[in-house]
């Protein structure tokens, strides 16, 4: 099992629904968010266009955050989901320093918090909250080890990229061009 997400950047309108859905579903404290949207202006005048990327923890295959965690609170679960055990975390900030995507933050209670791929929903066969609410249906979630899954087929068919592959983390959030 290898969970991954694919996001069609051509369909994304940057509405921020995924951000709000995540905050609601996961009770994210005010002022924080586990996912966010980057907006870029691309192209040369007069052919300018907006480029949106819905970003979150990349649930990397090579996890610098898990490697640097001194207590083992940061760990990889089945399906490659990277999670933090709250009562093992000492809040040292090593994983925040280690993440090239800035996907982690200190929860006001002290421990480090991050995207969980909504594993409580995934366990029940549902999509993560961000994927399920997307009004343009630009996000896809699934198992890469299953060649028949929609995400496997999409990644085979369409050109895609990941963020900062040069950081050597093997990110598992794919963006469809």
């Amino acid at each position: 099992m290898r969970y991954a997400m694919a996001i069609d950047v051509n369909k994304c309108v940057g509405c921020g629904d995924c951000v709000v859905a995540c905050q609601t579903e996961n009770n994210v404290p005010l002022g924080y968010s586990r996912d966010w949207i980057m907006e870029f202006v691309k192209g040369d005048y007069p052919d300018l266009f907006l480029h949106f990327e819905s970003q979150r923890c990349n649930h990397c295959e090579d996890t610098p955050c898990v490697r640097t965690c001194p207590t083992g609170a940061s760990h990889v679960e089945e399906g490659g989901i990277v999670k933090v055990t709250h009562n093992e975390c000492i809040g040292c900030g090593a994983c925040i320093e280690a993440c090239p995507y800035d996907a982690r933050y200190f929860h006001p209670d002290g421990y480090v918090d991050k995207c969980t791929f909504c594993d409580h929903r995934v366990k029940d066969g549902l999509d993560p909250a961000c994927v399920s609410v997307c009004p343009t249906e630009c996000m896809y979630f699934g198992d890469l080890d299953d060649p028949e899954s929609k995400i496997s087929k999409l990644l085979k068919e369409r050109e895609n990229y990941t963020i900062l592959p040069e950081a050597g983390t093997k990110p598992q959030i794919y963006y469809l061009k």
């Binding site: 940057g14 921020g16 951000v19 905050q23 002022g31 924080y32 968010s33 966010w36 949207i37 980057m38 907006e39 870029f40 202006v41 691309k42 907006l50 480029h51 610098p64 490697r67 640097t68 965690c69 001194p70 207590t71 083992g72 609170a73 009562n87 093992e88 975390c89 000492i90 809040g91 040292c92 900030g93 090593a94 925040i96 320093e97 280690a98 993440c99 090239p100 995507y101 800035d102 933050y105 200190f106 209670d109 002290g110 421990y111 480090v112 963020i163 900062l164 040069e166 950081a167 050597g168 983390t169």
Partner: protein, 332 residues
Amino acid sequence: MEKLLATDRNIDYLYPHVDVWGFPISSYLFLGGLAAGILLFAALYYLLGKEKDMPFTVKIGPLFAFPIIALGLFLLVFDLHHKLYVWQLFMTARAVSPMSWGAWTLVIVSFFSLLWPLSFIDSIDDYLIKRGWSKMTKVTEYLIKLEHKWLIPHFIIIMFRKYRKFLAFVMLIYSIILGIYTGILLSAFNAHPLWNNPILGPLFLTSGVSTGSAFVMWLSNNKKERLLMSAIDMSLIAIELFFIVHMFMGMEAGAEVYKQAAGLFLGGEFTAVFWGVFVGLGLILPFTLEALELRGFHIPIVVPALLILAGGLIFRIIMVQAGQMSEYPMFP
């Protein structure tokens, strides 16, 4: 391509760059290096059989190591965001995590830094009298009595003395590990290209040992000891300069992110403070003063010593801050 906004993400320590570690961490790195240097010299000169020639280095200096480590540990715990769970560090040992190595190393080093001066506790009077602080001996005598009575009975201290060679051997190894670890801690972060270079471990070790020698040279009351420490310190500064030059050479020969990281020091915003304050006032000036001292000029030893100590602290503050500013560009 220009970034417009990142929806709903105004976490101040993540944007515009990660800023999670500040003064407590840089001071801890400094204190750890300093303690490592003090203990390294004590163990080394004891094993070399120079106990009588270098009384301060071997016997008195290490007295300061434990309080220094304790202060560093306090700062470390103070910096944690989930402080009550600090014991989780000692529920596991993770070979891939430098911080886990550090936690266990600190336990072992603080244990030895406590045992070592205890085995020499009776020599402290000698030092105080020679320094002209004989009034203090009453206090220490009282403390020693109190200690023998309540904390550590005398026969245990006699046992420490018996195994001093073993203590020295372990202390020598662990002080080196502690010194290197303060650098490795930073170099394990791939996300910060400035830190992510293998010279940082040896560089921090050399800098820590140099601050240790400055500390001994400052407080020692023995002229010979001071001059020897001064000479050692000069060679350490030379090695440090060599490492610094090679660190930037390596980065300049690296990928774009490493060039950008080096750029912070080569024309970027840390140029003046790094080369002027750290290299100029913290390395080259004390080196020159020490050289003059060895040539027979009279220079108050406190000047180069304090310059080196301050330089060591400033170096770590710069490296921690600049490292967090060197990141992979999210907005190409």
